[in-house]
């Protein structure tokens, strides 16, 4: 089951600390320079709590959960 939330990254804020990929490897992987690549589509319900933790864990507040079903740019 998918939720009605998507992960959104403020690309200007993101500095590639990579905590999101550690805390939520199901949905976030890192590119060759350490910046996150988000799996497309809404966050599955069973991962929502983990996604919220990853959002709270981002040291520069670049990661957010937003209402929607399509991954924003």
């Amino acid at each position: 089951m998918s939720s009605d939330q998507v992960l959104r990254i403020d690309r200007i804020r993101c500095d590639g600390h990579g905590l999101c990929a550690e805390m939520l490897p199901e949905l976030v992987r890192l590119d060759d320079w350490g910046y996150p690549i988000i799996a497309p589509g809404p966050v599955p319900k069973h991962l929502l709590a983990h996604a919220q933790k990853a959002v709270a864990g981002c040291p520069v507040l670049a990661l957010a959960l937003a209402r929607g079903t399509k991954t924003p740019r």
Partner: protein, 391 residues
């Protein structure tokens, strides 16, 4: 076909900026349009000429229905290195641009106008400044004229808004987009068409839409042409004086565009729908020609290097990714092909797009993917050379 149909009709372009007197005598006075013009622009089907091709009427409707606009920003940054058309229009027909800005401001009830001209475009800047001083309308007399830094991304709409608001010509994160913040940003050519539509109506525009193109590369007379959208690439080549050698490939839309084989593109009209069918767009109107002795790989490497250095260095995937793409393309161009770099180019060009605050990385990887497509065999068999610039 004259190459100067509507926007550029009138006195010789070499004569410089047309005066207000001559402008009004030739085209008649600007009618006193108001908010009703939004509907006319919608009906005209005019699309933005800055590169993205967004329907102008829809943008105005959006801005007008979301609390109205506070400011119309005239975008004459023209950061695309091969494009000349915006600066030519501003330098020769400044009052057409100002007319467009004025009726746009009336259309969306904006009280302010700001005009942004690219720093290097000195003739265009001088022409707009002189034209502003001739205008009696309060909103134009109070208009701000700014010189934007000569950077590629400085013309991106959120960067323009950032620059006018805070003096920093770098893109910002969305949302909110500039249009959600009450700013109506339009390219100067778009506003030139708006000025004519305000005078002659939507049906007149629809009957034969024209577009400013910059013919670049291996042509005898590179420069700006105004042609109808039914004009074929072959005709653009002819109007630009033809060239010394047969053409091998065509670059549509400049550095933010895509390559195409010449044989497939030669008879294509430069019209949005026909181009879209081939996965192409005219973008900012550059049609670049590469002749049969040119090297597509070296040309692509040069452009990728430029795009990488023009990243505003705010988003990691763009700053690091484009540099890595430029390095890998450059290695192939300089030292010869190698399978590792080819594989990296393919993987990175899939990963980097869509991961910046603005579309700079998207455009760069789209351009590179078209190059890998069109020059696929050249990329796979490229000898270690870096040819002198040929086109």
């Amino acid at each position: 076909m004259s190459g100067r149909l509507r926007l550029l009709a009138g006195p010789d372009l070499a004569a410089g900026a047309e005066s207000l007197n001559s402008h009004v005598q030739r085209l008649g006075p600007l009618p006193s349009t108001g908010k009703a013009l939004v509907e006319v622009i919608e009906r005209s089907g005019l699309t933005g000429r800055g590169g993205a091709g967004f329907p102008v009427g829809r943008k105005w409707r959006f801005v007008a229905s979301h609390g109205g606009a506070t400011m119309v920003i005239v975008n004459g940054a023209e950061g695309e290195p091969q494009s000349m058309k915006d600066r030519v229009l501003m330098a020769t027909r400044p009052h057409l641009v100002l007319d467009g800005a004025l009726v746009a401001a009336r259309g969306v009830a904006a009280k302010q106008v700001a005009i942004v001209v690219g720093e290097g475009h000195t003739q265009a800047y001088a022409a707009i400044a002189a034209a502003l001083a001739q205008r009696p309308e309060p909103v134009l007399r109070q208009a701000r004229l700014l010189g934007a830094p000569a950077r590629y991304v400085a013309g991106e709409s959120s960067a323009i808004a950032h620059f006018v608001g805070e003096g920093v010509a770098r893109p910002t994160s969305r949302p909110p987009s500039p249009h959600q913040s009450g700013l109506l940003i339009q390219n100067v050519e778009t506003l030139g068409h708006v000025a004519l539509i305000a005078r002659y109506g939507a049906d007149w525009f629809r009957s034969n839409p024209t577009v400013l193109v910059t013919a670049a590369g291996a042509v005898t007379a590179p420069g700006v042409l105004e042609v109808t959208q039914q004009t074929s690439v072959r005709e653009v080549f002819g109007l630009a004086g033809g060239g010394p050698r047969p053409i091998k490939s065509v670059l549509f839309g400049g550095y933010f565009g895509a390559w195409s084989h010449a044989d497939g593109a030669w008879d294509l009209p430069i019209e949005p729908a026909a181009l879209r069918e081939r996965g192409l767009t005219l973008g900012c109107g550059v049609v670049g020609f590469l002749h049969d002795a040119g090297c597509g790989v070296c040309e692509t490497a040069r452009i990728m290097r430029y795009l990488a250095t023009e990243s505003s260095a705010q988003c990691g995937p763009c700053f690091f990714g484009l540099r890595a793409l430029a390095d890998a393309t450059g290695r192939i161009a300089e030292r010869g092909t190698n399978p590792d770099d080819l594989a990296r180019l393919r993987r990175w060009s899939e990963e980097i797009g869509g991961r910046g605050a603005c579309r700079h990385p998207d455009g760069a990887v789209m351009f590179l993917r078209s190059a890998l497509d069109v020059f696929g065999t050249d990329f796979a068999n490229h000898p270690p050379h870096w040819r002198a610039k040929v086109a």
